[in-house]
């Protein structure tokens, strides 16, 4: 039994830093920016640790804080246009480069190029293992919307990677762990 007020709380936070960094990186596309977000998330979580309900999902709570921090930061940036140039310009360049050789993208590139909401949905549900309900709650959308985002993300990835034509031999070498009743 651990509570947010207990001495274990810092350790519980530390254990989730890798997940927060990965989520932040997929939101921002930059590991430096992600680390700043993670830092802010940890500080906020610490400050409001009394509000964390014991027994509820700490990871979901932290992801929500990180996501809200990211979004409110971005809203602020809309008013300070100059700040955006660094990140935004870099992102546009890489988008453009991706479009140049669209025929066979590697998975990483294809994933990074997904629309933001789809990328987030697939990461939360497909990689992190949150339920659709949890993910929907974290993103403030309906469960059906979350399901459709995940589905569209998969379909889009399949198209980008050429899986539609049955060309997935390459990936199958990694699918040993994906044991599924089929």
């Amino acid at each position: 039994m651990t509570s947010a007020a207990s001495e274990d709380f810092p350790a519980m936070l530390a254990a989730l830093v890798p997940n927060l960094r990965a989520f932040g990186r997929s939101l921002t596309g930059s590991s430096e920016h992600a680390d700043d977000l993670v830092q802010e998330t940890l500080v906020k979580a610490w400050q409001s640790r009394q509000r964390f309900e014991e027994g509820s999902n700490l990871k979901a709570w932290l992801f929500t804080i990180l996501r809200n921090t990211f979004l409110s930061e971005r809203r602020k940036r809309k008013w300070e246009r100059q700040d955006v140039d660094g990140d935004g310009a870099a992102m546009l360049v890489s988008r453009g480069e991706q479009l140049g050789h669209m025929d066979l993208l590697d998975f990483n590139t294809a994933f990074s190029g997904l629309p933001e909401d789809q990328k987030e949905a697939l990461l939360l549900v497909g990689a992190e293992g949150f339920s659709y309900e949890e993910a929907a709650q974290m993103c403030g959308c309906a469960v059906g919307t979350m399901k459709s985002r995940v589905s569209r993300a998969r379909t889009r990835l399949a198209a980008l990677l050429g899986y539609e034509s049955g060309n997935y031999e390459l990936a199958e070498t990694f699918s040993g762990e994906a044991v599924r009743t089929s």
Binding site: L13, A22, L42, R51, F107, S151, A158, G166, S175, G176
Partner: protein, 71 residues
């Protein structure tokens, strides 16, 4: 702003991403394609999780628990 409107209570650690339910609705995609995407996604994510963690985070948490950084 932090909020904890999480009424789902403890749903496990979520450490192992078991998303059996996630793939069922993608009827349009071949199961092989879905599996390929799932396993590559987990591999990519697994690599991200394994990335070395900068010291700044352990330092920050140590400071926070000592009450050194409160704002």
């Amino acid at each position: 702003m932090p909020q904890s409107n999480d009424d789902t209570s403890a749903t496990g650690t979520g450490k192992e991403a078991v998303d059996g339910s996630a793939t069922k609705c993608d009827a349009a995609l071949a199961p092989e394609a879905q599996d390929a995407i799932t396993s590559q996604l987990k591999r990519l994510y697994g690599d991200m999780l394994k990335a070395p963690i900068p010291d700044r985070f352990s330092e920050l948490l140590a400071d926070l628990s000592k009450g050194k950084r409160s704002s």
